[in-house]
Structures are given as C-alpha cells and as structure tokens.
Amino acid sequence: MTKEHANWSPYDNNGGTCVAIAGADYCVIAADTRMSTGYSILTRDYSKICKLADKSFMASSGFQADVKALQKVLSSRHLIYQHQHNKQMSCPAMAQLLSNTLYYKRFFPYYAFNVLGGLDSEGKGCVFTYDAVGSYERVGYSAQGSGATLITPFLDNQLKSPSPLLLPAKDAVTPLSEAEAVDLVKTCFASATERDIYTGDSVEIIILNANGVRRESEQLRKD
C-alpha cells in the first residue's frame, strides 16, 4: 500500500532575494519588491523589509504570510520589551529573540529566510543571517532567498573578510565606504535579476548609520 501524499501544502514560496552588508559605521539592508507564486507575479511593489527597532531591520524572503506573522510577533515582543525596560532592544538582542522565535516553531517552521541588519551598541554595522529554524551567525554580509546562490559568490569575491574564528584574530571590518556598499548592492540585484526569475521589478534599500535611516529605491528589469 503506497503512502498517500497530501494534495494541500500549508506553504508557498513567494520568491525574492534579500541582501545585507555591514560596514564600520553603517549597515545596508536591501530586498527586491517582487512577490510571485509559481510562474505568476502577484505584485511588483511589495516590501520585504520590516523595522523591528530603531537600529534593527529585518529582510525576509520565502513565504510572505509566515514572514508577516513573524514580523508581527517580533514587533509585539519588542513593544513589551520597551514597556518593561524603557529602552529599545539592541541588535544582538533582537538577533537572539528572532532565533528563539524561529526555533519555537521547530516542528512546523516559519518558511522564512531572514537577514537581520542594524547597528550594535558601539555603532558598528552588524548583520545576522538565519536559516528557517533559527540557527544564526553574525557575519559581515549575507544574502538569502531565491537569488542568494547567485549573489553570495559575488559578495565573497568582493567583500570576503577573514573568518571571525581565526586565532590570532584578524580584523574583519569591510573596508568599503557607505556609498560603495550601496553601489555594490545595486550591482548585486541587477545581476541576480538577469538570471533569477523570482527577482526583479525594483529594489528597496535601507541605509542605517549614526545619523539615522535613509531609504533608496532602484528600478530593476520587470521581465
């Protein structure tokens, strides 16, 4: 007797790509704005980036319904934290909160591939990259989503910094300036759009630094 397979899945993949780069005193978080299902495009201007705290932004690709739910859970947890501690959550603290939130649904996961970007308590850029069930790591740059396999090798080539595991430790700060990093991100998305059908339309870029938050948008191929 062959096993019966379910003909309904609770998940769907809405595609999309997210990238984040950490600098000495800035952080760039970017995501394309295309939302698709199968071979159809649902909308061309959907934002995948969510502000969780003053200095923490999360970009997520995957199943956008799960992403929406995750964003709501994290925002409300942050609100509670603010009421209880009278201050904003730091980026590393938010990173661990996100990891735990994802793991609590270990047996029915959030189908969300996240990158968290922000500034740590010293003002340095920090980027955390996650898998679907919550394992996380602080890195200098990261890409997640359908175009990640196209973008990551390019970022490795441009930004590869010595591993934080090396001993004696080598300095791991990305030497790029803010403007160069934003330009690099635009290049990444332009290339990914060429070869990934789920990436395109436009890219939303958030730049976080000591002066505050800036938002940029760049048009991409719509085919």
Binding site: T2, G134, S163, L165, L166, L167
Partner: protein
Amino acid sequence: MNRVKYRISWFIVVQEITSSNTVVRTFFLLNQRVNDLVDISQLKGFRFEFSLSVEIMKLDFSGLESSAPLYGGSNELLSDGFSAAPSFDLPVTSDFDGFQKNSIQMVKPAKGTTTLAFIFKEGVMVAADSRASMGGYISSQSVKKIIEINPYMLGTMAGGAADCQFWHRNLGIKCRLHELANKRRISVTGASKLLANILYSYRGMGLSVGTMIAGWDEKGPGLYYVDSEGGRLKGTKFSVGSGSPYAYGVLDSGYKYDLTVDEAAELARRAIYHATFRDGASGGVASVYHVGPNGWTKLSGDDVGELHYSYYPVEPAIVEQEMTEAVVA
C-alpha cells in the same frame, strides 16, 4: 508468440539456510516467484526445475540457473523496450516508496561536519571544522561548532545547526540554574544527562544532534557523547560527523595519554585538517580548544586551506631551461 525470458532474483538463492524457519520462508518466497513466472510462461514451453529437500537442510538451486544472460547478451527479445521488465533486484517490502526514501537517507553523508574530542593527561582537547552545508551548497564557512556552554564546559555541534545551537543554549541556562540552586558547579556527567534526557524526549520527531560535552569538574576531565537518538556514552576519544572516519584514522595513530598540550593540539588540528581534505562536507577554519582545570581556552583557529600549504609546501619545480627576456637593442 512472444518468448520472454526472466531472470530470477538471486537474493533469494544466496540466503544462508540455517534453521527450518528460514527454509520454509525461502521456500514460500521461491514458490511465489515461481507462481508469477508460471502464469506468464503459459505462453510457450518455459520450464523450471528445482529440487528442494527440507530434511537435509541443503537446497539445490542448480535448476534455477536460467539461461538468460545477466546483462547485455542477447538483446533482440528485449529491444522493443516494453515486453520484458528490466531485471532489478527488488526488495520484498510492502511500502516500496518508504523503503526507497530510507535507503537514500542511509547513503547520504550523515551530519556534514567533523568534530572531535579526546581526554589526555592535561585535560580535554576539542576541535572542529566550520563548514555548514545545505545539500550541495555551502551555506557558511564560519560556523561556530564549538559552543561555550560555560567557562569550564564546551559542547560540539554536528547535525542540525539550529537544533544544536538552541539546545546547547538551553543546556547553558540549566547549568547556570543548577549552580544558583545548589551553590556549586554542575558536573559533566550531570550536564550531559540533562541534555540526553531532553533529546530522548524528542526522539523520533526529527531533531538531528550529534554532540560531545567536554569539561573539567571535581572528578577531573570528562567527555560524553550525546545524540538525538537518545544515546549517551562516556569515553576518552570521540569524533562525530561525516569526516569522522578520516579524523579517527589520524587520531588513533597519533594518540598517547601522555601528550603535552601543544602535541595534543597539533594532533587535533591535523586530524581536522585531514578530514576536511577528504570530506567535501567539512572545511573552513579548524578551531582547537583545550579544557583544563581552570576552564577552557581557545588555542588556535587556522584556515584549512592555509594549513594544507604549511603541511605540504609546494616544491619549486626544477626548471631545465629558463627563458629570459630578450635584450632590446
């Protein structure tokens, strides 16, 4: 009229007949097989001969040797592609798809990583690589696989990254609570038991954890292997992950109880290096930690690509004739 040739699955024939129970079962299988063939052989003159003597417990299968070629051979009858079924050895099971899925899982490299730990005179040496792979894609080359549970205990990560990270963090919390409640540190035995019990309660739910808990407590150095099947083993030398066979080879050949800290660190480093060299799922940075009476210290973190050239430097090629720049007049 089509004459089709069938090849009998040899797996029945080679089974060792040891008890009457087995003989009966084999006979039944053969019977079933023969029945199938007999139906189809209604076609024309297809005969089977085999003798079975249960008393002597010795089965004569000479009659089963069919004249059909094992491979290639005379293809003219099979060339139309549909009349003869290709002769595959099929497992005798009710759930064929499940069986296939399990067998693929069995052959897949388990827990793509290499971690090792061993006890020696000066304490415990713990080492690991830093590669995380998702199928064939390397998702990270800088994963921290040696987790610092508290200043005198380390855990290693193999299997699901999220599972290991989360449960080690949870174990760290429990160890701290134990310290606060009992006014003394938890033993390595106790900590490993806490983790093993948690993992056992989630047994069968798909967690993938293959970890070693290494520490120094009142009884001296301690090392336990704990996994998501609920296993917990005390030992002096362990290696976990897809690269572990290679690491064991190097570790076993160089291990002595009386190593100094530096010698033990070099042994651990080499073992990880050799595992990353041969195992595709291991790589990145080889980290080596030492757990002594005063807690753990990180001894080294070396990129394995660079370690290769330090162990095996490139010999400059012997050049017979060297070209020199032409002198420009």
